[in-house]
């Protein structure tokens, strides 16, 4: 069992938790992920590492309440325990040879982008961050991004905060204005990452995307997380989750990602009713 040491609600649909898992905390790096089960018989879900404290032995996770499992997880409070927590899995984000980087995060993906930005900042790189949200209410981690970025641009779809528009607009402007990024790293919804890649490709700026496909074991056994990258089958759990954005087949990844959409919706409704009953 793994203790929830801290819980913070970041916005109505996004929650942050620090989980006591010293073995995972000792090894975790930005870009890696963990798999957890909330309860016995629970589903295994992958969540990207949003931070870690090697001394305290905790790993930070940030999750959006999208399905039955994240709803159960969100119902847990500080001091409660979750059944299983395993990691760190996948490969850490590569930082070699990068001096200037642009981090592009979207929605809850910003939670995963943050430790990557922090890592580059610690390494002394120039970090530009562009973070986008649907609206002001969904904005998360602005202060944290500010602290590790030389330049931060906040975008909202409806203009209720920061600049109105999509993240690719300021990214294109920056590239055109002569910002020579060694790398663009983007983490967020598949459709956003697809457009980020479409924006950087004409300029040939190397672009890394962090994929978060459906997974079960997360250790290279089930093959559920497979993606087509550069025409070859790759497994996000052992080959990724970071991939060269120019090579990822996003259309396929998007189609595969909603394979269980109906089940998810039912699970969410069922759990919703359960909680209603309890309250």
């Amino acid at each position: 069992m793994y203790k929830i040491v801290k819980k913070r609600v970041l916005n109505p649909t996004v929650t942050m938790m620090d989980i006591y898992a010293p073995l995972v905390a000792k090894k975790a790096e930005a870009g890696q992920f963990i798999i957890l089960r909330v309860n016995n018989d629970g589903e295994r879900i992958p969540l990207t590492v949003a931070g870690y404290d090697r001394v305290a032995g905790t790993v930070k996770i940030i999750f959006q309440i999208v399905g039955g499992t994240t709803m159960l997880l969100n119902a847990k409070e500080e001091g409660d325990y979750i059944q299983d927590f395993v990691g760190p899995l996948g490969c850490a984000t590569k930082t070699d040879g990068i001096k200037k980087v642009c981090i592009v995060g979207g929605g809850v993906g910003c939670a995963i982008a943050l430790p990557v930005a922090q890592k580059f900042h610690e390494l002394g790189c120039e970090v530009h961050s562009i973070i986008g949200f649907r609206n002001k209410d969904l904005l998360i981690l602005e202060d944290e991004f500010k602290a590790c970025s030389t330049k931060l641009t906040v975008m909202t779809d409806d203009g209720s905060y920061g600049r109105q528009g999509v993240v690719t607009a300021p990214l294109k402007e920056a590239i055109e204005s002569g910002e020579n990024y060694d790398e663009v790293i983007t983490i967020g919804p598949l459709i956003m990452m697809k457009f980020v890649v479409a924006a950087t490709k004409p300029y040939g700026v190397p672009t890394t995307v962090s994929m978060n496909p459906i997974m079960i074991d997360g250790t290279g056994m089930c093959g559920g997380c497979r993606l087509t990258v550069g025409g070859k089958t790759k497994f996000a759990c052992v080959d990724g989750p970071d991939f060269n954005g120019f090579e990822v087949d996003f259309d396929e990844a998007m189609a595969r990602s909603d394979a269980y959409a109906e089940f998810e919706q039912k699970a969410r409704e069922k759990n919703c009713n359960l909680f209603k009953g309890a309250k």
Binding site: L23, K27, V86, P88, D217, T219, M221, L227, F235, A255
Partner: protein
């Protein structure tokens, strides 16, 4: 007394009933039938059956005990050689091992050794109330990576010699392929749990949720005071064919499909893990895993399930009994067929149509058997122009696995072959790295439970020799 020419029948659930439930297919011998079957054994002098067993169970000795009704005595004899008798009695391919060598089998059907082993193990699990004779600790610590058949066997053998053994398991439950791969109806998970509990009683610690190669490395295990490490991490990434359409929705690797159904219990109505409840399923491949996947698909409510295999029924690598069970339950065999493409739904007028990207059919080409290959199996040769499409909404690829890269990538000095399998000395399981031993699918690629157990046993013996010297 004349020998009864045939094995005593194993009682089973009726085919059409069991094809719709997840309960165990075979029901096991009664005491009376077990004794009668044991009496078919001649207790012959040269005991060829023992050589046929990868872990060399003293077969005639345990059967002699069954003859006299001393079932616990029989269990004690088996457990000297096998840490998982209730498992082996169910999933071993006895027909190509012990039973294939049986003297009775020369003229008649061989003695039902597997059925008797299963009976004895189940009898012990149901009746044994005594205390296990625990060994004196010898002060040595050994780490075992993976809690599948090879790891559990290695751990059990070492623990019985007094070693302090810790087993590290990546998943949330111990058992490896016995829990995620082999279905409930062939090997109830309760039985695996019992076997694991027995090992714990011998002092084996099981640490779940630890991925060696990620959470901890092999070198760190040595730093933590383990004096030897056994790697039994199992087979790895599933193989795909590389044909068009293989990433459509509704296509599973057998590993994923079986893991959802077995480990995550997706077959239950209240399961939190989803699984596609398909109507028409095609399983590609002809091994035991393919049979397990096909029979699981039936039990999940499929109207039709077919095996697509490129050779003929004679070449099917699955156990004969599994093939027969599958056929009885209604699985169809499209033999001499090879998939060339998987076809998906596409509505060009509505990109948001949920059905877009879902499987609708599998295009196969007919094959004929040509010249034998290097293994002596006749090669399938495609018949030009014979392609046709079978309507399916789910395809399961059961065509093998490639070794997992996690341990290889993080363990300096551990040599692997060109397929990625760990290289070991056959007689000892010793790897290229000092103090590190390996066995099971991580070495051989996908094979059987009993071969993995044999490898775990060999390595345990070698580790004991290695640590006794120090």
């Amino acid at each position: 007394m004349a020998i009864q020419p045939k094995k005593h029948e194993m009682p089973v659930q009726p085919a059409l009933v069991r094809a719709r439930n997840f309960e165990e297919v075979a029901l096991g011998y009664s005491e009376k039938v077990a004794v009668a079957e044991a009496q078919r054994c001649l207790n012959c002098k040269n005991k060829p059956c023992v050589e046929g067993c990868p872990v060399n169970v003293a077969i005639p000795d345990f059967i002699s005990k069954v003859k006299t009704g001393d079932f616990e005595g029989a269990y004690q004899i088996i457990s000297e050689s096998s840490s998982l008798p209730a498992v082996c009695g169910r999933v071993c391919p006895q027909e190509t091992q012990c039973e294939s060598k049986c003297t009775v089998g020369i003229k008649f059907e061989p003695v039902g050794i597997g059925r008797l082993e299963r009976f004895v193990a189940d009898w012990h699990n149901a009746h044994f109330k005594g205390k296990l004779a625990l060994p004196t600790p010898n002060g040595h610590k050994v780490a075992v990576v993976g809690s599948g058949p090879s790891g559990l066997t290695c751990a059990g053998d070492l623990a019985k010699k007094g070693y302090k053994v810790t087993v590290f398991e990546a998943l949330h439950v111990a058992g490896g392929v016995l829990v995620y791969g082999i279905p409930e109806f062939r090997l109830p998970k309760e039985i695996v749990e019992k076997e694991v509990e027995t090992l714990k009683k011998y002092g084996v610690d099981i640490e779940t949720n630890v991925v060696i190669g990620k959470t901890l490395t092999v070198d760190e295990l040595f730093e933590d005071g383990y004096e030897a490490v056994f790697i039994g991490s199992g087979a790895g990434l599933p193989r795909f064919m590389g044909i068009k359409g293989e990433s459509l929705k509704g296509i599973y690797s057998a590993n994923e499909f079986l893991t959802r159904a077995n480990l995550m219990k997706a077959y239950r109505a209240d399961a939190q893990t989803p699984i596609l409840r398909a109507k028409n399923v095609a399983v590609v491949g002809g091994g035991n895993v393919a049979m397990d996947a096909a029979r699981t698909a039936l039990r999940l409510g499929a109207e039709s399930v077919r095996i697509i295999y490129r050779r003929s029924m004679e070449e099917l690598p699955a156990r004969k009994e599994e093939v027969e069970h599958a056929e009885e339950e209604g699985v169809k065999f499209d033999i001499l067929r090879n998939p060339v493409e998987i076809i998906g739904y596409n509505n060009p007028n509505d990109r948001r149509d949920r059905k877009n990207g879902c499987v609708t059919g599998i295009k196969v080409i007919k094959c004929e058997l040509g010249e034998p290959d290097e293994k002596g199996r006749r090669k399938p040769v495609e018949v030009a122009g014979s392609e046709y499409v079978i309507d399916v909404d789910c395809v399961i690829m059961a065509i093998g696995t490639s070794p997992n890269p996690l341990i290889k990538n993080t363990t300096e000095g551990l040599e692997v072959n060109r397929h990625g399998g760990i290289i070991v000395e056959e007689d000892t399981g010793k790897t290229s790295k000092d103090g590190v031993y390996a066995g099971g699918d991580a070495v051989t690629g996908a094979a059987t439970v009993i071969l993995a157990m044999g490898a775990g046993k060999t390595a345990a013996k070698a580790i004991d020799t290695y640590l006794s010297k120090n």
